[in-house]
């Protein structure tokens, strides 16, 4: 993971390996950068701004990271790796489709909570970043996620848990957009906890907004 293929064969060991415990400083800088990237966009955030927010000069950042994109890379990978593992855990439990979907939604919202900045970046800029070679893996991650959701939806439809006329692709997209876009308005200090939001979303998605007595 994180091959860090330095094009610039400089002798300086700016980037460490992935599993690296990493100095606290490194994590600190990464957190600062993530917040700025999320708030202003990756392109709109200058290396100078990141450095200044950290109280150092822009040149000094290059002792910790190879490049600006290397920071984005690390921020995104951490989130994606976590989320993939989290989804896999659910699948491995092998519950019924409705339970599984609900749990996937819960874990997605928890991802929003825990990796807020990373999710924001992923949501806002995955499309543009994917055009850069270094971020090829974003497309793979999206495909992995898609496979997970679609498998559960298809399974549920065939077992009768979900409507027979459900369009799997559309349903998947609505769910995906619904959970990730929440990052735009979710605030950890807001009135609703992330769990409450997840439950509401599950309710709407599974049973609709219409009052049940109508049927």
């Amino acid at each position: 993971m994180k091959p860090v293929s330095t094009k610039h064969s400089s002798g300086r060991a700016a980037s460490r390996g992935a599993g690296d415990t990493g100095s606290d400083r490194r994590a600190e800088l990464l957190a600062i950068a993530a917040e700025l990237f999320a708030a202003r966009g990756v392109r709109a955030t200058t290396v100078r701004e990141i450095a200044e927010s950290a109280g150092i000069l822009s040149g000094s950042l290059y002792h910790h990271f190879e490049s600006k994109n290397a920071m984005v890379d690390e921020i995104l990978r951490e989130f994606l790796d976590h989320q993939r593992r989290s989804y896999d855990e659910v699948l491995r439990e092998g519950a019924d489709a409705r339970t599984t979907i609900a749990e996937l939604i819960r874990r997605s919202f928890r991802g929003v909570h825990r990796y807020r900045a990373a999710v924001t970046i992923f949501q806002n800029e995955a499309n543009h970043l994917a055009g850069i070679e270094r971020f090829d893996y974003l497309r793979q991650a999206s495909r992995d996620f898609e496979r997970v959701w679609k498998r559960v939806l298809t399974d549920g439809r065939s077992t009768g848990a979900f409507r027979a006329d459900l369009n799997i692709t559309l349903a998947y997209r609505f769910i995906r957009d619904g959970v990730w876009t929440a990052v735009h308005w979710y605030s950890p200090r807001g009135r609703l906890t992330i769990n409450a939001i997840a439950e509401q979303y599950i309710a709407i998605l599974c049973d609709g907004i219409a009052a049940p007595e109508r049927r």
Copy 2:
């Protein structure tokens, strides 16, 4: 419409007034710019790229538009004005909540279809753009839309059309994100027409993905 009260228009008469039928060239250039903005992002799209796509030099663009942001401005305003009027029409019909919500959703998807590039820009960059004085009106437009949806949801909940335990704010956000984010994957040449997508979305939203017999 389109008041174009640019503070920065110091003496330059590059942009015409609003109701202006406008030369075809102008509309042509705007369409080209919109596609690029949508595809690559506003910041990432250079004026030079727009000009080259139109077969002219970058400086020549300034004969038609005051600035890059002036183009973004015009693109967004056209969509927002249309959408606002479209929503207002529905409200004026005064149908019941469920019918109204369905119609609002249909008209939103039609907006996605007709103003695809503009919706993409709005969806991707409204947050960042709103930080610029010139784009203050984006916040107002968002608030206007929010009021429309929330009024109908609240009305439907009190008349018993919608679940009594529905969280209006969350429901509004899910709907909003669901319809606008569709622009990311909707293709006019795809298998599903925009109307089919709208109906599927209405179905899921109103009645959920779960099979009805469960209740």
Copy 3:
């Protein structure tokens, strides 16, 4: 005069000869340009601004004038020609030094009044313009003026009209700067007429600001 050596051998007869009676439109445009050049500086005034002030498009100006600098040229020449003739008249009268100096000052201030915009341009930009080949004549004009003033001062010193210890060069410069710089604050609608200003200046220059009884 006004050779108008068109580098661009275009067949269009944009510029007329000098003695040309000239259409009113031409004079009108020149007056508009002069005001703008004076108010904002030659460089800072765009051709577009001139055209817009005249209610036409920038391209249309080129039917009347060869270039922006051609306008500056004409504006300056008119003033310089007039002023030169005016000074010559005084010299030809052959009055005594003090009378002559006073009259030169009066005629300078009258020049400020009548060619306000031109004097402003001359005062503000002669130095920079003189670097352009086309404006070589500015240096000659300055030298001509200098010769006039110095001749009178020298004459007056040798006849005893002026102090024996007068530094001719410095005196000339103070006078020159005093009269031309007045253009920066003189207003035809101000409290003091241009003649009153001239008389005050003559008084200060000849007899000083100190009260006479002190000697």
Copy 4:
């Protein structure tokens, strides 16, 4: 001194605070820029020219200064602050009007000598610069100077040191223009020292150019 409260300094720490001793490089660059601004005018001097004169690339200048105008700003403030203090010292000595006027003139010419480039810029471009928000303080500085001179002139007139019929405003303007415009022709390597020029100017101003025996 030099508050440098740039509104535009959004997050960039290019320019240091005021009391800053400042790296030598900074002062060096400022001196180079000042000479060019004085010689060619602010607008006509390109950032590239400044950089090339300093042996660096244009972009590198922005490591030291926020913008071209920021350089102009610093150059002007240094001169204005100095001159204001210098005038205040004279006033605090409380000598009689004629002595005070003479000393103010001496100190003005010394300002011309010491801040030649800055005075040239101030003299040539204050009018145009004052139209820019950032240079609002130029108007204030002019007003401050005006008050100083007028106070002394008024005082001298009422104590009988100066002519009873002296027009204070005109006298002030002639003096102001006379001393500052000298920057256009003064050369530190010329025949006359700045002190000699000052004394000649004082003599002419106080007692006139006319021979005394005439009265």
